[in-house]
Amino acid sequence: MLEMNHVSKLFNPGTVDEKIALMDVNLHLKPGDFVTVIGSNGAGKSTLMNIISGVMKPDAGEVRIDGTSIGHLPEFRRSRWIGRVFQDPMAGTAPHMTIEENLAMAHRRGQSRGLSIGVTASKRASFRKHLERLGIGLEDRLRAKVGMLSGGERQALSLLMATFTQPQILLLDEHTAALDPARAELITRITDEIVRDMKLTTLMVTHNMEQAIRLGNRLIMMDKGRIILDVDEERKKSLTVEQLLGEFEQISGHKLSDDRLVLG
């Protein structure tokens, strides 16, 4: 489904601030894989997401989705295949537009946009059904401006907008990190439900070790621009946070440091 072959990315090449963001990364996701990604600050997790989604171009290597090489395509052209939820709850929605208008824009993800009416009665009915599944009452507030919603509500909406058109790849970039624990837990639960129900191929960056172990069928750990550990479904079932931390220290030679790290 998703293939990354020998992908490298440098920041500020040739200057004193040169930094290796990704070094020869190879990652292959099978259809329906739900992979969690953990790593220390600056390990390259966000760069990995940005390269897949097209925000950044790799310096070397190729990215393929469904066999199609997409490395040369700008971000807006890749949206056909990729749904994405950002860390910042403000990033995934348009605050001065209504919930139904936001959903209508997401509904046309990757298609051409013409002069047909964005929010029709039939679409509104389907939006309401989708929102009901979130279970947080947004279905009764279709015409409310998204800017009036709380961070958790906005993130739930972003998640729905990114997924309800069945993207081939779903990218979740620490999408619960900016929320308080109760709301983060709710979004995590909704995420798990949606990904399972729709069998979405998903890559989720998280700083929550317990979450990384509990969710998904595969776990990768990154350090200094490389994937240093790849845990499969079998091993993941019996893995503990302590084991994971120990393993990280053993391979990388230093402690896992992430200023927002949550052990679970």
């Binding site: 946009r113 002069l115 047909s116």
Partner: protein, 306 residues
Amino acid sequence: MLDFVMKLDGPIELGLLYALMALGVYITFRILDFPDLTVDGSFTTGAAIAAILITNGVNPWLATLAAFAGGMVAGICTGLLHTKGKINGLLSGIIMMIALYSINMRIMGKPNISLSQEEIIFGSIDPIYIMLVIVIIGKLLLDAFFRTDLGLALRATGDNKRMIRSFGANTDTTTILGLSISNGLVALSGAVVAQQSSFADIGSGIGMIVIGLASVIIGEAVLGTGSVFRTTLAVICGSIIYRIVVAAAYEIPWLEASDLKLITAVIVIIALVVPTINRAMKQRSQARRRSIELLAAQGKSKGGAL
């Protein structure tokens, strides 16, 4: 006073003529969040195109449409400078404004063209009625456009670029489209103003952007900004109110015609500063109230809502 009210049809007519320009400014300033100074040039472009075509015997309605198209081209140029040339938005507008001065001069051939002997769109009917129809049609078309998929993408471009890009809209295209519609409307306004006043002048667009901003801001302050439908209506009313304020200012004996631009600038400053101060004061009083509430609620169990 009664005398002044009786004479209000003049300002209302002017307000409607300039409302098209104000709607254009609304698209860039509010929807695209792009302060576009092309307006000062494209307004004159509209007047110039309409005037030169009309004096050469072209049907005035066709000439007015051509002015709209000419404005759109100017907007596209500004859009290309900004999106493809990566030039700062304000600067792209200023560059186009300057370039348009020369272009407008080329179009007109001389600084002033009289239309007093020509057939114009305002024939035997009072301009106020024709303008009312044009402005209402323009407003409703805009409202409808902003509800389409493309229109939604354009609005999102000004609201959250990153988000709409992640859903596959090319924000360069939507920005250019918004600028072209906006400047098309501005040029259309220039064309009707030239016909109403019976001449096109090379300097007629100077300060137009500030008048447009004043109309948008006054309208929003008076009628609010609930939906696009309401805001476009507010902008039109803002344009009319602006003209009434100007007419009232003229009634003051010691003011001179050349003070108009200063008055406009002061209106814009007041309209921009007052809401900011209001918001700050509201926030402070709310913060104070909340802290008292929280203090009172301390010790009690907290309720958590999403």
